[in-house]
């Protein structure tokens, strides 16, 4: 019950007019970012980080997390009304959300989406509240080899569990590590990989990379498709809203299942996108009438939305407690934490309990506020999408580049953002996963430090990753298992085929 008391303290800190104003501003900006094509949650958070340099960390994290919730909601709005997922994680919402809107049930679809998203998020925060104390206790036993093992596990799960080619995941991730290595070597203090370019001494900021990869790259992809907004006019009717809210308990099985899937995928680095697709698939598999899916089945909106938000909130837990973010957006936020001078990880819970618990408390309030605000402002944001693209397009471009410049006021960053933009476009079109690259850029230095410190402990023997403790051995074995999962999977499949083929041949 210690967690509960801490949480109450958090509520007391957050409960002020200033924090509420920041929360509302964050949610509204987030919805805007989620609605606009090309600006997603990771990118939006990156754009805001330079503006938080002068804020105190608690207000700053409230602003960033609120923006994240807003962006998740904004993404669902465009999925339902325009059949354009504002966020990759709301792609699954278009399958049934858009057909519902076409049938004139836009209000129901939106309300169901927002309410189930809210339920998912609150479920996620509750899980965080309950688990955080335990995870921290667990993480306090960690030293360098354990930390390296956890990082390795995170990265291996991207390679082994990803949907695309594992080699592409390796390329993308390793490039991220390489970018992180550029500049000053924190342990030895000398320059590396700058190739004589003085502007590279400060390193390549992951924020620039995120703005390029997610912002400019996404815009190029959108442009290539030829942007068309065939929006459905949404007029929110209060009666429909109530009806939809009252119908929500009917989907309790779907809600619970999706929330669990979401939490799992959020804590492990599966991320919200994978969670929403998985949850949609499960909802369809377990549904009594499968024909309705894809044609406007309400459960098809409830399932991905719940999982998406549950995963989004749960991704914050490993970030705070272990320093291992569970999604690209959480990775960016963690970068922000480090810029504010906080070190994510178990010590954060001990050194700055006020920060941790007010973050968690603000997540409860921010999500409730986001549901209310998003319902109230849907018509407004739908109207923004009707502004011609020849105005809104350049505006988005300008905001992205201004954001890139603000990080450190360097001209080179503008060019870097452009190059990362082209890279993002190419990589995304060729199915290279982008999230591992961002994660590697944020975690690169910490991973390397953990590795080098372990090597110093063991005087250069890799054996330390198995002999230091049973904990580290377990994590390492799990990591290698995940890494070679595609290989193991195909061997098992071949064996099965061989077994199946043998009697047939006879």
């Amino acid at each position: 019950m210690e967690n509960f008391g801490n949480l109450m303290d958090g509520f007391v800190i957050v409960f002020s007019f200033y924090h509420f104003a920041i929360m509302a501003a964050g949610v509204l900006l987030g919805i805007l970012v989620g609605v606009l094509p090309g600006l997603g949650a990771p990118n939006g958070v990156s754009l805001l980080i330079p503006l938080t340099f002068t804020m105190d960390p608690i207000s700053a994290i409230i602003l960033l997390t609120s923006m994240y919730w807003g962006a998740l909601f904004g993404g669902s709005t465009t999925s339902i009304l325009f059949n354009i997922p504002g966020e990759p994680s709301s792609v699954a919402t278009t399958f049934d959300g858009y057909p519902m809107a076409q049938q004139g049930k836009a209000t129901q679809a939106l309300t169901l989406a927002f309410m189930s998203a809210g339920v998912g998020a609150l479920f996620g925060v509750t899980v965080i509240t309950v688990l955080s104390g335990w995870v921290t206790q667990f993480a306090l036993k960690f030293s360098s080899p354990e930390f390296f093992a956890v990082y390795l596990l995170t990265f291996c799960s991207f390679i082994g569990m990803g949907s695309s080619s594992p080699f592409k995941a390796v390329v993308s991730m390793m490039l991220g590590f390489a970018f992180a290595a550029v500049g000053m070597d924190g342990m030895a203090g000398n320059m590396r990989l700058t190739f004589g370019i003085t502007e590279l001494i400060k390193g390549i900021s992951f924020l620039v990379a995120v703005i390029g990869l997610f912002g400019i790259g996404e815009l190029l992809l959108t442009m290539e498709e030829g942007l068309r907004f065939d929006g459905i006019h949404a007029r929110i009717k209060i009666r429909d809203v109530w009806q939809a809210i009252l119908s929500l308990p009917r989907y309790w099985v779907t809600l619970l299942r999706s929330a669990l899937v979401g939490c799992w995928m959020g804590i492990t680095p599966g991320g919200p996108t994978a969670a929403s697709f998985m949850s949609y698939g499960l909802a369809k598999r377990f549904a009594r009438k499968k024909d309705g899916f894809g044609k406007g089945e309400p459960a098809g909106v409830v399932a991905p939305e719940t999982a998406d938000h549950a995963a989004g909130t749960c991704a914050i837990l490993p970030m705070l407690a272990l320093g291992v973010p569970g999604s690209a957006t959480a990775a960016v936020m963690m970068g922000g934490l480090m810029i504010w001078g906080l070190t994510p990880g178990p010590m954060l819970f001990i050194e700055r309990p006020d920060f941790v618990w007010s973050t968690i408390a603000s997540m409860y309030m921010g999500n409730v506020m986001a549901v209310v605000l998003v319902l109230a402002t849907v018509p407004l944001f739908a109207a923004i999408l009707r502004i011609p693209f020849s105005i809104i397009g350049p505006m988005i471009v300008v905001v992205c580049f201004i954001g890139a410049y603000q990080i450190s006021g360097a001209r080179l960053d503008l060019w870097l953002a452009l190059v990362f933009g082209i890279a993002g476009y190419l990589l995304k079109k060729l199915d290279y996963p982008i999230a591992p690259m961002v994660l590697a850029m944020v975690l690169g230095d910490k991973t390397e430090d953990a590795f080098r410190q372990s090597m110093i402990f063991s005087k250069g023997s890799l054996g330390i990753f198995w002999t230091n403790s049973t904990l580290v051995a377990t994590i390492m074995t799990l990591a290698l298992l995940l890494l070679f999962w595609p290989l193991i999977g195909s061997v098992v499949r071949r064996l099965r085929q061989a077994v199946a083929a043998a009697p047939a041949a006879r």
Binding site: L51, F167, F177, A178, A181, M223, S390, Q406
Partner: protein, 166 residues
């Protein structure tokens, strides 16, 4: 839907190109690490130790991607970019490139004004007066939001120096 002549780029071409670029990048990283030492120094692993293996794994993995995509190509051919898509990309990309290049010389404010104005009048077919109004109000809004409210100065050019705005 698409006639064969409308194809600008085959997917396999781009796959190979990207894999080669990645492999070269990996090789450059290896080279850069070798310069600073990849072995065991006085204080444990040297600076180049970690990046060297990173570079090496990029080279190996991108070669695997290369082989993979050539094999995949035999199974099915995919189009990367049609002529129409290429056109759309360029009409979006070139003005953006102009904006960044312009910002280097003229500063962000002037460059963003010109960029917005150009796209609105040429691509959006807006009247000059309306486009001008939108551009100027955007510049003023950005100026107050960034310089005054958040106090983060943006890149400025000769025009700002002339007007004595810092």
């Amino acid at each position: 839907m698409q006639n064969p002549s409308g194809i600008l780029l085959q997917r396999v071409t781009v796959e190979i190109a990207v894999a080669l670029v990645a492999a070269v990048a990996g090789a450059i990283i290896c080279y850069g690490s070798l310069e600073i030492g990849t072995g065991w120094g006085d204080a444990g692993p040297q600076s180049g130790y970690f990046p060297f293996y990173i570079g090496l794994s990029i080279v190996i993995a991108s070669c695997c991607v290369l082989i993979e995509s050539v094999i995949e190509q035999r199974r099915r051919q995919q189009v990367f970019l049609t002529r129409e898509q290429g056109h759309r990309i360029l009409t979006f990309f070139l003005p953006m490139l102009g904006f960044v290049a312009g910002a280097m010389v003229l500063g962000l404010y002037v460059s963003l004004g010109l960029y917005l104005f150009g796209v609105m009048t040429i691509q959006g077919k807006y009247r000059i007066g309306k486009a001008l109004a939108v551009c100027l109000s955007t510049i003023v809004t950005f100026y107050f939001v960034f310089e005054k409210w958040f106090q983060v100065p943006l890149l400025k050019g000769p025009l700002e120096a002339l007007l004595k705005i810092y």
